[in-house]
């Protein structure tokens, strides 16, 4: 172990291994190849169908639980995925991921200003479609698809793409 450590991090300057410029050039070209491959992968991904993603449905709560202008936190699709259900207008239910698209701080519902607000860096999102209203977030909040049946609200999937 010590021998290996001494080999990798020698005390004497002369025993250190240096990367030659040619080796560095090769490494950078490999990195370039990796990035090109990644870009091609993204191009292929962009051509794949971007339908809304249906998932297992999960009951969020009852309609009666949520007052007009109110909000309800829930987890969907996994237990650690934070989401928020809001009722911006009476009878209109919208749900979004709570993770701000900037640095993943949880957003909060501000009924007075009719927006989802990220207190970390003053980001704000529309409750209509999750679009960015202000601040540094680079994209809209992912929207959770909802179904209301017999007075109960269910999360049934996640909207993708420009929907």
């Amino acid at each position: 172990m010590d021998e290996k450590l001494n080999q990798d991090f020698p005390i004497d300057w002369d025993e250190d291994h240096y990367v030659s410029r040619r080796e560095f050039f090769k490494f950078m070209t490999f990195a370039s190849g990796g990035l090109a491959l990644g870009s091609v992968g993204l191009a292929v991904w962009s051509k794949m169908p971007r339908d809304h993603r249906k998932m297992d449905e999960k009951e969020i709560g009852e309609v009666a639980q949520l007052a007009a202008g109110g909000s309800l936190a829930f987890n969907y699709p996994r237990d650690h995925d934070l989401c928020i259900l809001v009722q911006p207008e009476p009878g209109v239910y919208k749900a979004f991921s709570r993770r701000c698209t900037h640095l993943s701080c949880p957003v909060v519902w501000e009924p007075g200003k009719n927006r989802l607000y990220c207190p970390c860096h003053n980001g704000a999102f529309s409750p209509v479609n999750g679009a960015v209203l202000q601040g540094p977030p680079p994209r809209a909040l992912p929207e959770i698809m909802l179904e209301v049946r017999e007075g109960r609200i269910f999360a049934v999937g996640i909207k993708r793409g420009e929907a």
Binding site: R21, R22, F24, F25, K26, M28, T29, A31, S32, G33, L35, A36, G38, S39, V40, L42, A43, W45, S46, K47, R50, T101, P138, R139, A140, R160, G161, E162, A163
Partner: protein
């Protein structure tokens, strides 16, 4: 001080090598910027830039491979 022709050639090669290396670094940074930009736009649902960016990235890779080949030949007999 007079520099011998061999020394002059070595200096020239070294200069060319450094220039190519710098250009290579700039191109890889450009690729990285393209990759991150396309990833961001895809996550935002915008797909129009993905294919042009992939083509440009492949072109840059071609240039880098061509330069690497040049560098290998340049330094073969040094």
């Amino acid at each position: 001080m007079k520099v011998s022709p061999a020394g002059h050639r070595r200096r020239q090669r070294s200069g060319i090598f450094a220039a190519l290396l710098l250009f290579n670094l700039v191109l890889v940074l450009l690729q990285l910027w393209l990759f991150v930009g396309v990833l961001e736009s895809l996550l935002d649902g915008k797909t129009t830039m993905a294919i042009p960016a992939a083509i440009l990235s492949l072109v840059i890779l071609g240039v880098n491979v061509w330069m690497l080949d040049g560098v290998v030949r340049l330094t073969r007999d040094v």
